[in-house]
Assembly symmetry: C2
Homo-oligomer: 256 residues x 2
Amino acid sequence: MDNKKIHISIFGGGNVATHLIKAFLKQPSIQLQQVYNRHIDKIKSFTHQTEITDNLKDIRPADIFILALTDDAIAGFSKKLSTFDTLTVHTSGSTNINALQTQRKGVFYPFQTFSKDKEVDFRQIPILVEAQNQDDLQILKNLAQKLSAHVIVADSNQRKALHVAGVFAANFVNHLYLQAAKILEENKLDFDLLKPLIMEVAHKIEQLHPKTAQTGPAIRNDQKTIEMHLKFLKNPEQKELYRILTQSIQKTYSHE
Amino acid sequence: MDNKKIHISIFGGGNVATHLIKAFLKQPSIQLQQVYNRHIDKIKSFTHQTEITDNLKDIRPADIFILALTDDAIAGFSKKLSTFDTLTVHTSGSTNINALQTQRKGVFYPFQTFSKDKEVDFRQIPILVEAQNQDDLQILKNLAQKLSAHVIVADSNQRKALHVAGVFAANFVNHLYLQAAKILEENKLDFDLLKPLIMEVAHKIEQLHPKTAQTGPAIRNDQKTIEMHLKFLKNPEQKELYRILTQSIQKTYSHE
């Protein structure tokens, strides 16, 4: 065992696990010791690069166990590792550190949407770490800094805040893209027409706070255009979203 | 008068007017004949590059008059040009072509949010054109193609659809960015943390339709996380937006 390397074992075979495995395999200072998954098929592609297993009895102590599991599975699965004194972390945004039933607990939360087939650049992805004492925190910071340029120490509440904020900025935003796409398609226009605008709006907040970046009929209190848009929209779902988001924008800026 | 050049006069001094003036001045095949604005101060910076005026009596016929005015001003102002048989266009997304009171009417709608201080690349901006006959339409297509690689012939209804879609994909999206920023700031986290995710979500729809790109607790029907997020959000405004957008996502995918 090469003592200079950080020895990691990963538990899980989903998107987060897969991306972490790939990232760790590229790091010469990290030894990916074992990968465990209940269904061996999902991790079989790593056979020649690391030791894979579907049997918990094979698991040996390491510097860090990473549980890249669904939120609901974390507590129950961690119990099975309670005999180890290996620092054990989960990778969940919305799960408290105390959900872990292991002796040493921590969190290693890479904040990004992972798709199985899309490569990610870990240097750009913020990683939030949490631990129960300074020594373990230092171990996690060391590991995170090998992958990312943006390592943040955050408690469970802050991690939850980032997760909720991500739902607004990613899932809800994507849902609005979908409404826009539907409106265009119903009117025989290509969704491609919107792409330059979408990129412009995303780029804008690199320089401007979204509070300052707002434009459009709602912030201008252009009631005539708002009424015309509401009349134009036939889909009750879209009508309601338009009304509520317009009201919310108007409320935000009416106090100024 | 050089007959090979398209002769344009622009009326207006706002963001759209300013960006069009700058773009036309760069085109050797376009002659920017005159720029009119009620307040001469707003167009004074173009003194050495074109003829500027605040007096309608100075206006001479051209190939195209471009009225880059607010929606409400279009009809009234166009009346003052009714003696000209110059093809006259407005630049509005949500105004019917028939709002114009001129002899020859058209629309020249560059689809983008313009900020005064930010340069735009017109080649990437879709321009929607409309006219009352094929000859005038051809004149507008010629002009639009000199600026943009994406020229689309669209009627007033399609233009309105694109404008409404833009409100969803730009103004409402930016409002969700703002909610995310507020949630982070209240929890002493930097808004910068979200920027890689925001760019990733915007880039994703270049390859995937937003219908396919959706992720998160709502589409997974992860009721436990949704409840936890709603409990976490203290601001009633954010609570309502979270609830309604989550419901809307769930409705969208429940029929499958």
